[in-house]
Symmetry: C2
Subunit: 194 residues, 2 copies
């Protein structure tokens, strides 16, 4: 019937595609602010299909959030696998930080994490967010650094999250104080993101 044959996918491939579509869609509007129809359009399928594939909108969001956290975690794991890591070596922390700023460049992962944190009024979402953060912290802690060093690193990451989510890096000329904070937080990574 349709001129372009609708590509039939295996359920697994389709699920993967829907998760990616959900990542992009939820990134913009968050859990409550994004309709399942937007996710469907993003993926090029019908809205009921999205809902049925995951059972509910909530379950879809939970899996998208998990995907985002896992992506961050894997990026860190890759850095640690690439070369030995010395917690007392600032350059090694730089490699880890660089992996994170690279990840934040596409914005979708970042925003889904932020929405996950914020939407933690829903206990199920909160639980998934805790699991994700715990796993990420565990990887950082596995370097053998002190708790304080790991905490400091994560804290810097959370600041980057916030600054990027409010698009501080795109408005450096509006507020001098905020611009100073932005420059200090991003350092030389600022050019990459703009």
């Amino acid at each position: 019937m349709s001129t372009e044959t609708r590509a039939r996918m295996s359920a697994d491939d389709r699920r993967e595609q829907l998760l990616r579509a959900g990542l992009r869609a939820f990134s913009r509007g968050g859990y409550a602010g994004t309709s399942t129809d937007e996710v469907a359009r993003e993926a090029g399928v019908s809205q009921p299909y999205v809902v049925r594939t995951f059972g509910s909108k909530q379950e879809l969001f939970l899996q998208v959030l998990e995907l985002a956290c896992a992506e961050v975690r894997r990026a860190f794991e890759r850095v640690l696998a690439d070369a030995p890591f010395d917690p007392e070596e600032p350059e090694d922390w730089g490699r880890l930080g660089h992996a994170y700023t690279d990840l934040l460049a596409d914005r979708d992962l970042l925003m889904v994490m932020m929405h996950g944190f914020a939407a933690s009024g829903d206990e199920q979402i909160a639980a998934r967010a805790r699991a994700g953060m715990g796993a990420i912290y565990a990887v950082v802690a596995s370097t053998g650094c002190t708790d304080e060093q790991a905490e400091e690193f994560i804290a810097q990451g959370m600041l980057l999250n916030v600054m990027l989510s409010i698009r501080a890096h795109e408005h450096l000329d509006e507020s001098l104080p905020l611009a100073a904070l932005t420059r200090c937080a991003f350092g030389e990574a600022l050019e990459v993101l703009t």
Copy 2:
């Protein structure tokens, strides 16, 4: 008609009350996830009245977000006004941090800020969030500390925001890594919050 005479308020008093109600309501569900009807019930007035008082739901949220940011800013200003501040004195930073953890105890300010950050897909909300963050940073920077010191302080604050929003402090027994991060982030403030 009604047995209990409905207290008529001046428009200013009512506006103030609605902002407080909005703070509590939006704290739970965020911008998209909270109906104007919930705000109305929280304040004990009718839904249309809430909308008409602020013109739109968005304008209400913007003002609530501004209120939350201003409250944080004022808390810092109070600390700096109370006693001289030496950026090289860890105890002075402790006073500032203590003011923040005290503020976070009621959760509403915190969550509204997080929702404001996350809802920054809406450019107007993003702008208001940038203004709020800029003002808060300006107060911290006014101590004469270095940009790095201020950035470090704000970063710690953002981590506290995230940990509290996902209720990490209420689930210390579930995930060892997350518990370690929580304890390290909150330090002795942990008891106050639980």
